[in-house]
C-alpha cells in the first residue's frame, strides 16, 4: 500500500529532522530543517493529495500559492537585505 509506505517515509523524516537539530551546525540547522519539511510536504502532496496522477492544471495551482509567497519574500528581501549596504545616515569619515 503506497499510503503506508508514504507514512513510514514521513516518520523517518520526522525522526531525522528532530535528531538533526541536536547537532550544532550553525546556519545549516535551519537549512536542513526547511529541506526536510519541504520533503515531507512534497510526500504528502504527491501521494496523499493525489497530485501524482492529477492533471497539469491542479499541479500548477498547487505550485502557484508557493510561487506567490516566493514573490513576497524574494522582492521584499531586496529591501531588507540591502538596507545595510547603503551607508548609515551619518557616514561622514
Amino acid at each position: 500500500m503506497t499510503y503506508v509506505l508514504t507514512w513510514v517515509g514521513l516518520m523517518i523524516l520526522l525522526a531525522l529532522t528532530c535528531a538533526s537539530s541536536y547537532f550544532p551546525m550553525g546556519n545549516w540547522n535551519s537549512v536542513v530543517n526547511i529541506g526536510i519539511s519541504c520533503a515531507k510536504g512534497l510526500l504528502i502532496a504527491v501521494f496523499f493529495m493525489h497530485l501524482r496522477h492529477a492533471g497539469a492544471l491542479l499541479r500548477i495551482v498547487a505550485i502557484a500559492g508557493l510561487l506567490w509567497l516566493g514573490i513576497l519574500f524574494g522582492l521584499s528581501w531586496s529591501d531588507f537585505g540591502t538596507r545595510t549596504l547603503s551607508p548609515a545616515p551619518w557616514v561622514a569619515r
Binding site: Y3, T17, S21, I44, A62, A64, L69, F73
Partner: protein, 197 residues
Amino acid sequence: MPTTPFDSTLERREADLLGIWAFLVTEVLFFGPLFFGYVHGRLTHPEAFTAGSHHMHVVLGTLNTAILMTSSLTMALGVAAARGGRKSLRTWLVLTALLGLAFLGIKASEYWMESSEVAQASGAELTFYFLYFAMTGLHAVHLTIGIGIVAWLWRHASRYGAAYHSPVEVTGIYWHFVDVVWVFLYPMFYLLQRYSA
C-alpha cells in the same frame, strides 16, 4: 434545488477538485504574512527567538507531528475506502477525527503550560510567543473545522460510494493541507538550536 450546472458527476468532481485546490492557494497566502513576520523576526532577533524556542516542549511537539501525520494516513485510507465504496470508510473517518482531537488536546495542554512563561517575556521574545500562539492557534482553528467536516462526513457516510465521493476527497485534500502547514510550523518553533538548550 436548481439543476446543477454540470452535465455529469465526473465534470462536477473535476470542478470540486479545482475549487478546493484554488481555495488552498488562498489558505497558503493567508498564512503568508505570519511566515513573513516570523522570517523577519528570526533574522533580526535570532537570540530572542532561540530563547523562546527553548521554552517549548519538544517531546510534545514531536508527538503532535507524528499524530497529525498518522491522521493524514487514516484520512487517505478513508478516501481510498470511499472511492472503493467499502464500509471501512466510517472507521477511517472516526480514527482521523480521534487523532485530530488528540492533537488538539496536547496543543491545549501545551498552551496552558506555556502561558506562565509568556507573562514575563519581553521585547523580541514576546514577538516569538505572539507568532507561536498566532500561527499554531490559526492552525488549530483550521484543524477544528477539519474535524467538524469529518464528523459531518461520518454521519452521512452511507451516501458516498464509488459513484459519488467528491466531498470525502475534498475534505481529504483540506486535511492534508492542514497537516502540511503543521509540518512547516513544527521545526520553526520547536527546533531552534536545540543543541544549546
